[in-house]
Amino acid sequence: MLEALTWKKIGPLANIPVRGSRRLCFGSGGKPIAVFRTGEDKIFALVDECPHKQGPLSEGIVSGNSVTCPLHNWVIGLDTGLAAEPDEGRTETIPVKLVNGEVYVGLLVERPVLERPTIERKCG
């Protein structure tokens, strides 16, 4: 599995606000990714779509290891991508790592979404 991943450098941790998130987009389209940084400087990445109605999780309030969707307040676990009870649903989690201050996201080379020409949400 892991070897199917390619690690993409997306810049220094400092780019991402503490208890916040930045959105990462793909030139060729594909679902944007939200890269999160928690109060304890842990980093996580999720596909930037709430399982409820595709709300942009990168805009939510980050507390502990979860983010609250800005549209209707679903609470999503950053580590699991799972919606907290009583809501049900899951957002795809993306592998991330921190190598001396630089953030990397792990992308499956044949990640189908990357090849899709169109994108779900306008992104740039």
Partner: protein, 820 residues
């Protein structure tokens, strides 16, 4: 085993439930408590738990672990042999032994029967099908939770306490829920028709579908339930059917052992069955013709039974008046004693306010209160219950009684709730955990407790269903000599503290960071949650103007990026149009911005200004930059702050105008913009009583008249329309400005976060606001001065700042990745 050599007598407890184990607990507290070698048989595979809280487990408010009453360690520490998952099958009164299904035989000197009750299960075809269950024990709850995960539609049969709590729990778990009830109104045994209907209306609004007068004919389905067929032809599709139509005392074992049984196992006042060595407590018993379905009387039984078992021959059980309430968040129901007049000599007195969903009925019989039914506001429940129990003579206050305690005893406002001082020490306070007033008071004194949470952890009072929280707090306050206050709801699940508590502490203890506040009230989550963080951030901002640094990370997205997020992730931009007045150049600027950034929608809002919808996030700073150049600044359409000041044309143009309403509106908007408030604030100024600016549904409205200006407050046009209350009439614009500042400030300082002026004034009363703003000139000026001061730090255009580069990371995306 050394049982034979053990000198102690053998007590066998049959039933590891609430009544049985409470009796054992009571016994262990008593001097003679250690005289037995205790063996407990429980048919359920669990240690004993708080059955009451199954409702909360179902609704997801508690976990199974949280409702355990005694752990296995506890049994071990007290030398109790616990045999779970094994039901007693026979009692042999000759051989004096009991034998379990698994064949375990234990000799006894005394037996305690606490077998509880079984769910009523009439012979409805299809009852056994997979997908059907009752609501009695953990096994049932597991079934329901499993169903809620994989299926969508639930039908609950039975509109009593259990059925309603089951329905609500399943709703909370995301199922669509229908409830079938045989009777025309809900909880007909505890509520009269009127209260039952209010209850149904509220739950109906919360999305539960009711089928009253519904006689279940069949539960249909082959592999699994598919629906419920009613006798009148109605059919309700279902994947889960919960039967909660009542309970029947579990008497089989007693019957087989030839003890007298009727509806329940017959016991005398000493809790003995017809065999002097066999006691019985709980829902399985029948005492003087009545059976029991609530814990309060069962705790009394447990006390008496424990005393008897340890040799006190005087203890007697008498059943007292009971009260019922429903454990559904936000639904307040209370009933005690008679539900309605039963004869000539009885009077019913009712009070009803359909708008606020309030209903109260009391039943009076020759000078005494014999019943009370309440819906909506149940604060005085315990007080009424007390009057009923003590058979107090109420003829003095008869006419005031229905208006509640504060009025009846004309106590100063706020000092409602039960009269702690005159409450006997043995009065049961917490039904779930059977804690008396006495034990709470001495716990507070001995362990010098000073907070509700401490009292909870030490005494368990109010730790379960929470119905008695108010009472426990009253006792705490009373013991500490404080004022008795009704508990405000806590800020969020992270904390037990209420909004006012926190705000007072912030000032009193000089707390200046969110961390400090969370520490002071030992928050459950170190970083708080999306509910409390914005609230604390606001409270600190309001308490320490110019000092506290706003935490953008604790703001909802709209306030963080100073625009309104739309459902597709784009934003809307609403510049100010002071008082709804604009100019050609402003309109040019808006037009060219819309073209330049091809903004899809340009709309006139309901607030007399223009909304640019569908702006891409990363364009926002540039859009703002261009708007700024034309002098347009943020309209705070996203903020918990001043939104709009609507005006009409007024004396400048209108033939009816009495004053310059447009000019005054602009002044007000320039004075108040930028200020953060608990919720959004909207003003309006109308030039005459025709009120074209709709001032009477605004947070503050001004209606101009020949004689001056009528200031109105607390209006709301939103979800619950509320017309303003008149505050005062003043003669000059300057006075209007001073009142506006003072009103903004008292609202900022005293309302709860996310509470608009309408619900806030509904809560504190317009008279209070008048007292502070109209009668107290000093106070008003001071408030206004504080507002003016805080505005010093609030009136920078957030758009200009961001167009100039502040928070750039909020708007720029991460450098885009080329295709992977």
């Amino acid at each position: 085993m050394n049982m034979m050599t053990d000198p102690r007598e053998s007590l066998v407890v049959i039933g590891n439930g609430m009544a049985g184990m409470r009796t054992v607990e009571e016994m262990l507290k008593l001097p003679g408590g250690k005289r037995y070698r205790i063996t407990v048989f429980g048919a359920e595979p669990h240690v004993n738990y708080n059955r009451i809280m199954l409702s909360s487990v179902l609704a997801g408010d508690k976990s199974v672990e949280e409702i355990v009453i005694n752990s296995r360690e506890w049994y071990a520490e007290n030398g109790i042999t616990l045999i779970t998952g094994d039901a007693v099958k026979t009692i042999d009164r000759e051989a004096r032994t009991v034998t379990s299904a698994a064949g375990v035989t234990v000799p006894y000197d005394k037996i305690l029967l606490a077998t509880g009750s079984r769910p009523l299960a009439p012979p409805i075809p299809g009852l056994g099908l997979p997908g059907t269950c009752a609501f009695r024990d953990i096994a049932d709850v597991d079934k329901m939770l499993a169903a809620a995960k994989t299926h969508k539609r639930a039908v609950v049969i039975g509109g009593g306490l259990l059925g309603l709590e089951a329905a609500w729990g399943l709703k909370q778990r995301g199922m669509s829920v229908a409830l079938v009830h045989l009777m025309p109104t809900l909880m007909e045994r505890q509520l009269d028709a009127a209260a039952g209907q209010l209850l149904q209306r509220d739950l109906d609004r919360r999305g539960i579908a009711f089928f009253t007068d519904g006689q279940t004919e069949e539960i249909t389905g082959t592999e699994r339930v598919e629906g419920v067929q009613l006798a009148d032809g109605r059919f309700i599709p279902a994947d889960l059917v919960v039967l909660a139509i009542g309970i029947r005392p579990n008497i089989d074992l007693a019957k087989a052992a030839d003890l007298d049984v009727n509806r329940g196992i017959v016991v005398t006042d000493d809790m003995r069955t017809t065999d002097a060595d066999i006691f019985a407590v709980g829902e399985c018993v029948e005492h003087r013709g009545s059976v029991f379905g609530l814990v309060a009387p069962i705790w009394d039984q447990a006390k008496v039974c424990a005393a008897r078992l340890t040799g006190d021959e005087s203890a007697l059980f008498t059943s007292r008046a009971l009260s019922t309430s429903l454990k559904i968040t936000g639904v307040d129901v209370f009933s005690a004693g008679a539900l309605m007049a039963e004869g000539e000599s009885d009077d019913e007195i009712t009070l009803r306010d359909d708008n606020r969903g309030l209903y109260k009925k009391i039943v009076v019989r020759d000078g005494k209160l014999v019943g009370a039914v309440m819906y909506g506001d149940v604060a005085d429940g315990q007080w009424y219950l007390g009057l009923i129990r003590d058979k107090s003579d109420i003829s003095e206050i008869r006419d005031k009684l229905v208006f509640g305690r504060a009025f009846a005893e004309s106590l100063p406002a706020g000092k409602t709730g039960p009269d702690i001082a005159s409450m006997p020490d043995d009065a049961q306070v917490c039904g779930c955990n059977g804690v008396s007033k006495g034990s709470i008071v001495c716990a507070i004194r001995e362990k010098s407790l000073c907070s509700l949470s401490q009292v909870r952890s030490h005494t368990k009072a109010s730790a379960s269903c929470g119905q008695c929280t108010g009472l426990v707090e009253a006792i705490l306050a009373d013991t500490l000599g404080g004022a008795v206050e009704k508990k405000a709801p806590s800020i969020c699940d992270c904390a037990t503290a209420g909004h006012d508590e926190v705000r007072q502490a912030i000032l009193a203890q000089g707390l200046k960071t969110m961390g400090a506040v969370r520490a002071a009230f030992n928050w459950k989550k170190a970083e708080g949650c999306h509910k409390c963080r914005p609230a604390l951030n606001y409270y600190l901002l309001c308490a320490w103007p110019g000092e506290y640094v706003d935490d953008s990370r604790s703001r909802f997205i709209n306030e963080r990026v100073h625009a309104n997020i739309q459902k597709d992730g784009t934003y809307s931009v609403v510049p100010r149009m002071w008082g709804g007045v604009t100019t050609p150049s402003e309109l040019h600027a808006i037009a060219s911005v819309a073209e330049k950034f091809n903004i899809p929608t340009v709309k006139v809002t309901g607030g007399q200004r223009i909304d640019l919808l569908g702006v891409k996030k990363e364009d926002l700073p540039a859009v703002w930059g261009d708007l700024n150049k034309a002098g347009l600044v943020s309209g705070h359409a996203y903020a918990k702050g001043l939104r709009t000041v609507k005006t009409c044309v007024g004396s400048e143009w209108c033939r009816f105008g009495t004053q310059d309403s447009t000019g005054l509106g602009i002044k007000l908007e320039k004075f108040c913009w930028g200020s953060w408030t608990p919720h959004k604030v909207k003003f309006a100024v109308s030039g005459c009583p025709r009120n074209c600016a709709e001032a009477t549904i605004k947070d503050m409205g001004v209606v101009c008249v020949e004689a001056g200006y009528d200031i109105l407050v607390g209006g709301n046009g939103g979800i619950d329309v509320r017309v303003t209350d008149p505050l005062v009439r003043v003669a000059s614009e300057d006075e209007v400005m001073e009142y506006a500042g003072a009103f903004m400030q008292i609202y900022r300082e005293e309302a709860h976060y996310l509470e608009r002026t309408a619900p806030w004034i509904a809560r504190v009363g317009i008279d209070y606001v008048k007292k502070r703003l109209v009668e107290d000139n000093e106070g008003r000026r001071a408030l206004n001065a504080r507002f003016v001061y805080s505005q010093k730090f609030a009136q920078d255009d957030p758009w200009a700042e961001r167009a100039g580069g502040i928070d750039a990371h909020e708007f720029a995306k991460l450098p885009e990745l080329a295709d992977a």
